[in-house]
Symmetry: C2
């Protein structure tokens, strides 16, 4: 048995990066029951080995994830090195009883060790053929901050000789030994860098030894230290431990084992683990298990190897054996990336027998766990051992393909498939992505908030008009702004993506971008935008207008230069219609999953859209109507904005009516387009909502231009701008407050809706308007607005001789509306929760200003788990929603309930909406598939 010289530098706690990066995590499956998962009283140690196991895969609570799966693999006949798991109950006992163990623990461990000795034909502490073990922690889910692994436990000055003899490699044996002392000394005995020290103490000792062996040289490789040197190192390591701890390094393998077990339990309660548990709401009482397992060595020579593999390709989902391995190496070497591993296919050539066995293992794992598995293996002297298995992480594309394929393969049911694909991961099937090679070499210059998923690359442009002009010339542009406002919409439409220095994931830029399906990174505070110089500075580097930047709206990353992108198949089929379904396999998988989702879900899914093309997109994605049509977005273009401004500047009701008359045809035309695109699906139309000042020009130049156009003096315009200025526009003169003070605005909007409906109906089409009054707090506000709506509806129907079926309702978006919902429901046939504003008012938190403290709240102070503007604040906003629903139903039991805030596309929120009994959610067009899947998952939960 030839063992190669090994690099002496040990990776102390290897960063557990999976060898293959996968963007999506998946929930653990519920494996088919194979045995009871109930713990036995007084049983603390669960043995596994030689085809038998006390535990099984269902016992994750008792044995932890790793232990349960080791038992399960053993049970189904996979080659698992024998060992045992100390249960989580012992951990609990340990803490409840002042860090003591149950009396019967050691006897049970002794029995288990004896069984291992028998199976391995070796002896724990034996000189001839010593049993060495690995000790690992194992909570229900893997938990950062806890003690990970101690290898080679059982080595001492005697047993090391046995290992040397058995492996016929003294250097290998002493290298194992010194690694064990180093690991154990650090993790169990606490020999670590002290304040003021620059280097780890064990590393210092290694350097000193090298200096002694090769004086004056500073480039001594670990491999140059021979067996004698390592023997000396062992001595010095032990001296270091004694010096630092005042204790001898334990020679007795049982003392070593007890120490290691104690260290695992102790690490359950260390600071990092506690913080992690608090953050993810993991109960302290769960405790961790400890796994003690016979060592196997993948580094005993060219007939040994270690590897990590997946049962399918986690990037594409294709059903191939996927992974990598290193000949003559331990598992940690594969992970650490010291040598470049080979793809697992090569094993066929190098170790054909092991490869055949692994292929069998792969099939067994999938047919047993009914999930794609990520597993670790070691081949020792040609013999295969399985060290771990768990569900594999995967990309969105892979998640969909694997789920659908597994249904076809009858491994899982269609409901399982729906449950299993994280709803958000569908984004990856919808948005353009960076070409993976191009991305690897791209230079990241900053990060912002991921606000509109996908990848975009374009020339920097700082204003809307220029973006539009440049795009018209066929250029790809990226709109860069401090923040955006409705005036920027034209430029946003023209751009590949939008990048802002301010604002959160619910800022104007983010909201509009998602609605358009545009890529967006916002709130990138490292960016210094200088409109005057037309430059963008990050740190010392300045980017000028016209230079290329690229942004990843799924991660928030910003790259210098142009990074190649690839379009999404699903979008090419459904939206761009440049690809036939038959040529689009990913689309087909997506479509199949959506069909199942539609079958499962109870919630209906609508969209937030206000232009016919947006509506068409949403309907292509399966939207079942419009949940929120923001009519103000219709007033921002060309002549419309002029008429709008004329209306705002009008001094009398007469003048206001005259200006409104100019707006009427535009709005009517938009509604005609929308009704046609909906083909009979309902459209919830919200009346004018934003404060009027949003429509007026702010710069003197724009004001002068407007003055010339509409014949109102610049002075008067400025006066009106000043008059309309508000300290807190969010809480100002907006929503129904506009329609109440200026009833003629609501009358015009109602007329536009009903005239459009009449036109469509007369043309043989259908129109189902649902008029929604915003920002209602007082029942009488709704009453007054609906008086206008009903009266105009009556008039128009009479004038046009057409019957229009319509309903009326309100946004519930301020807390008062929630507590007065019983009174409001007298008039309202539906409630639509406007959770954007409801969150702002309930939390007293402006989404545009929360950037200065909310990140701190989430990350440092851990006051909120998720951004409340992205995922509903269930305990606050959610409580008020429940109050509103209860009160609303008291008055009108059949009241229709929906949500139209940005939260409507968030899976966690959708689950909440399902649970509290809403009828529908509404989200931006590109979120519709995500919402449908999330709704289905909520229904199947």
């Amino acid at each position: 048995m030839a063992v190669k010289k090994k690099n002496i530098k040990v990776v102390k706690k290897p960063a557990k990066k999976p060898a293959i990066k996968a963007a999506v995590s998946t929930k653990k499956p519920a494996p088919k029951a194979v045995a009871s998962s109930k713990p036995k009283a007084g049983k603390y140690v669960y043995f596994f080995g030689d085809g038998q196991a006390d535990g099984n895969g269902k016992m994750k609570e008792l044995l932890g994830g790793k232990g349960a799966n080791l038992a399960e693999m053993t049970r189904i006949g996979l080659p698992v090195p024998s060992g045992f798991t100390i249960t989580t109950e012992v951990c609990t006992y340990f803490y409840v009883n002042g860090r003591k163990y149950p009396a019967d623990l050691i006897p049970q461990m002794e029995k288990a060790i004896a069984r291992m000795e028998k199976i391995q034909n070796s002896k724990f502490g034996g000189v001839d053929n010593p049993l060495l073990v690995a000790v690992r922690s194992g909570a229900r889910d893997s938990m950062p901050g806890m003690m990970d692994t101690i290898l080679n436990l059982g080595l001492n000055d005697n047993t090391v000789l046995g290992l040397a003899a058995k492996s016929n490699n003294e250097r290998f044996a002493y290298d194992c030994y010194r690694r064990f002392i180093q690991m154990y000394g650090d993790v169990v005995m606490g020999v670590q860098k002290r304040e003021g020290e620059d280097h780890e103490p064990f590393e210092v000792v290694i350097d000193e030894l090298k200096e002694d062996l090769f004086p004056g040289r500073h480039d001594v490789a670990d491999t140059e230290v021979d067996a004698a040197g390592l023997k000396e190192l062992v001595k010095r390591f032990k001296a270091l431990v004694k010096e630092r701890t005042g204790k001898e390094f334990p020679n007795n393998p049982w003392d070593q084992l007890k120490g290691a077990v104690g260290a695992v339990f102790g690490s359950w309660n260390n600071e990092r683990a506690n913080i992690y548990r608090q953050k993810y709401g993991i109960p302290h009482e769960w405790g961790t298990a400890v796994n003690v397992q016979s060592m196997v060595f993948g580094n005993t020579g060219d007939n040994s190897c270690s590897g990590v593999a997946f049962t399918r390709d986690p990037a594409t989902g294709v059903k191939v054996f996927y992974g990598e391995f290193l000949i003559n190496a331990q598992g940690e070497d594969v992970v650490a990336g010291v040598r470049t591993p080979d793809p697992v296919a090569q094993l066929q050539v190098k170790m054909p027998k092991a490869h055949r066995e692994l292929e069998d293992v792969r099939k067994t794992l999938e047919s047993h766990f009914h999930e794609m598995q990520d597993f670790e293996f070691t081949v020792e002297e040609g013999k295969l051992f399985m060290l771990q298995t768990r569900n594999g992480k995967r990309t969105g594309v892979a998640a969909v393909k694997i789920a659908v394929d597994m249904v076809k393969e009858k491994l899982i049911t269609w409901e399982d498939a729906v449950r299993r694909v994280p709803a958000d991961s569908l984004n990856q099937l919808l948005t353009p992505i960076f070409d993976s090679k191009a991305r690897k070499t791209a230079k990241m210059i900053a990060t912002g908030l991921p606000a509109g998923p996908g990848a975009a690359s374009g020339k920097i442009v700082f204003n809307s008009d220029e973006a539009d002009a440049l795009a018209n010339k066929g250029e790809k542009v990226l709109l860069v702004r401090l923040e955006t406002s409705p005036e920027d919409i034209k430029g946003m439409i023209a751009s590949e993506g939008i990048l802002t220095a301010r604002g959160g994931v619910s800022s104007h830029a983010a909201l509009v971008a998602r609605q358009m399906g545009k890529v967006c990174v916002c709130g990138a505070s490292e960016l210094h935008v200088n409109y005057e110089d037309q430059t963008l500075t990050v740190g010392d580097v300045t980017y000028k207008k016209g230079e290329f930047l690229s942004i990843d709206g799924s991660t928030g990353e910003i790259f210098a230069g142009e990074v190649k992108t690839a379009p999404s198949e699903v979008v090419q089929v459904l939206i761009e219609k440049t690809m036939a379904p038959k040529d689009a396999p990913t689309y087909q998988y997506f479509a199949q999953l959506m069909t199942w989702a539609d079958k499962a879900r109870k919630l209906r899914v609508r969209t937030n859209a206000d232009q016919p093309d947006q509506v068409e997109n949403a309907v292509s994605f399966g939207a079942e109507g419009i949940g929120l049509c923001r009519t103000e977005h219709m007033f921002f273009e060309g002549e419309r904005i002029d008429a709008m401004r004329e209306m705002i500047l009008a001094e009398t009701e007469e003048d206001r009516k005259e200006a409104l008359a100019k707006l009427l045809p535009f709005q009517r035309e938009d509604f005609v387009g929308i009704f046609k695109a909906l083909k009979g699906l309902p459209a919830t139309i919200r009346f004018l909502d934003p404060p009027l000042h949003e429509f007026l020009p702010n710069t003197e130049e724009q004001q002068a231009e407007l003055s010339e156009k509409i014949g109102v003096s610049v002075e008067d315009i400025q006066k009106r701008v000043e008059e309309l200025h508000e300290f807190n526009p969010m809480l100002g003169h907006r929503g129904c407050r506009l329609g109440i003070v200026y009833p003629e605005i609501s009358a015009m909007q109602a007329r536009a809706v009903f005239e459009a409906a009449a036109i469509v109906i007369k043309g043989g089409g259908k129109a189902k308007p649902e008029i929604m009054i915003p920002l209602v707090g007082f029942p009488k506000e709704l009453e007054l607005q609906l008086e206008i709506v009903h009266s105009v509806a009556k008039q128009v129907q009479k004038e046009k001789g057409v019957k229009v079926a319509y309903s009326v309702g309100t946004m519930i978006e301020i807390p008062r509306a929630c507590v007065a919902a019983d009174k409001i429901a007298v008039q309202a046939e539906f409630f639509s929760f406007g959770t954007n504003d409801l969150t702002q008012t309930t939390l007293g938190m402006s989404r545009d200003d929360s950037g200065s403290f909310l990140p701190y709240y989430q990350q440092k102070a851990e006051i909120v788990k998720a951004n409340p503007f992205a995922s509903i604040d269930e305990a606050g906003v959610g409580e008020l929603m429940k109050i509103a629903i209860e009160k609303g139903r008291k008055t009108r039991p059949e009241i229709k309930l929906g949500i139209c805030g940005e939260h409507g596309g968030d899976p966690a929120t959708i689950k909440f909406c399902h649970n509290i009994g809403l009828s529908y959610v509404s989200c931006s067009p590109f979120r519709v598939p995500v919402a449908k899947l999330a709704a289905a998952q909520a229904a199947l939960a």
Copy 2:
């Protein structure tokens, strides 16, 4: 019987202004029961006359206010012209049964008329001595919009001759007749101005007649038209009625009477009355009664008169007979003010017998009604008749004096006295007032919102520094601003009063003014303030800096020039201590009432104050501690603001701590002063609340100045100002969000509190700090802040060797805190409802911006009854408060509950707070007496 020629111009519906202006209304008393108030089935007509009455004063529901009191006066022997009341039940019957009367109504009316004929020795429709009647409506409370009065009913072409004979004055008789036709034609028959007509039709006929009689003259007085002319006028009036209505004017007195009764009932349902009822929540079902009463004439000669009188002086409360009368006139002449009436004392000279009788009546009324009465009387040919009595309106000073005097006189109990004085009217005893003579001649130039009661006069100054400088020279100044900010505090302190062009009654100016007890008028939108020119323009008139203006903060009026003011006695005694109680009778009355209020109330009353002198004032007014000490107000003066700005501009935690260390001694010193002023009363101290940008200078000049002072570049200052800019500062980085991101701020504040407490306690005093964390929404926010507080408290107590008893709690001021109150109460020992912000967030309404629609909401659309920033919105904000209380008590049954928003001084809110079980209210120092009285009234309700 000589009747003087009378002015022919009739005041058709005299505006019912009381002859004496009284600022305060009082609630109706609950007179001692004298008889049953139950209606008898089938009895529709309640007779009164000749010392007997079917009804009594308790039967206001059935007989209306006027009818019940007429019956009551008759019963107690007062000389009331006989008559009867048709019950409100008939009104209800009238509407339920398609405007028909109960079958037995007319027979009952006939019987009553017969009794009147017998008593008056006359005949209804009789030619010799015709019985004429007045018909008046009479709801429970007088109600604008309903038909008021028809006089002289019963006149026709025959009976007019009888009246002429009896009065020996043909012109008088025909004048009565034509007035009757005019009144009846208008009110009952609907002969009114039509669209397009410029003048009332009856007036047109009068003008035509004058033209016929005196062709070419345009200045003919009504009195120049003689009896013949009036006869002709009667003819033409009848023709007009026929022409306009197609009906003859009814000759038959019974037809006239039925018509008039129908008109009264009909007017119950007219638009104005309906709107009034809706506004004041008066049930439609109440209905109105109709009073039919024998006419008496105060205008039959010099032995007749009409008058209006009060049983005590309604302006001062002094127990004198107070009122005025006109010889040879009808009641409406006294009210209309055509001739100047004589004071009632003169009656002693001119009609001594009537005067003696009236003195008796005065005593009888008070001893019977136990309230100051406002009554109408007529003397016809030397004989006194009582036409009406009701509780008299009065000023605040009078209200207090009368209530206290009546207790001394054993007319009422002390509880009655407490119930009877409107809490708000105490303001008039606290604030300086305009000298009444000076005010009469003052020129009002505009009105704003009454925001800080009292009267002030001073020279116009447009900025804080100048105000301070001028005041230091001994000048009286009036600070005039577009709006105020914390930077203006110095100027506000220095000024007599504050006048702003923008902002509502809860604006910064108003809030601070009330806290200081300063006079304030705000939101006077007619004012154009030009800082550059240092002028103020109203309409065409421009006022320069240095010119005098005067403002009345109780009414919102603004006067040109200096108007003399008088200081309040109570303030001189309690606050200025320039007057001894024995020399201050009004103070003594006030103090007596306060003693009773303290006896009755359950709610404790604290104050919002943050300076030792404010605290002293509040304690002098009887405050029982501080409910809200806003610590940020301590940072605005002199060196403090510089250190504060240094802190805000600090780039590192170290620098921030250094700046905070400079603030510590200032804040500690303030707390020492406050604890001393409190003499052991508790102080709720709120930690830093406003967004930091409020502390930074905004003008370049100020920025340059600051830059020099603290050595930070202007650029950096501007950068920070820009960074701190918020879209919605109300919902921004403020409240506990500051202390969470910058824990060192909270630590400094906690240290200042506990060190100050230690100093005071060591000095033999007492200190009871209650630390209050603002803007908590998430339980963890409170937890994190309290960790700091408890840790600092422990440290300081250890350092100083002093035990400080303190408690900790939170503001409940955002809706999330209400629904999460159970979780928050785990940490909080008290809740203080911050209803300013809770109202803003619950209603989604910025108080600073609501001026553009809230007045419309109140006055035009009637969406809200009261300003929700002044009086709590019970159905909205109140509901959330109830939820918070219920949840808070579930966790901590003994939790202390208070309110510290501006609402804490509003009587309606205080009643609500009492009812929902709060422990205390807190209000500005000068509101403390009002709040105590309101609390007592709530307890006695």
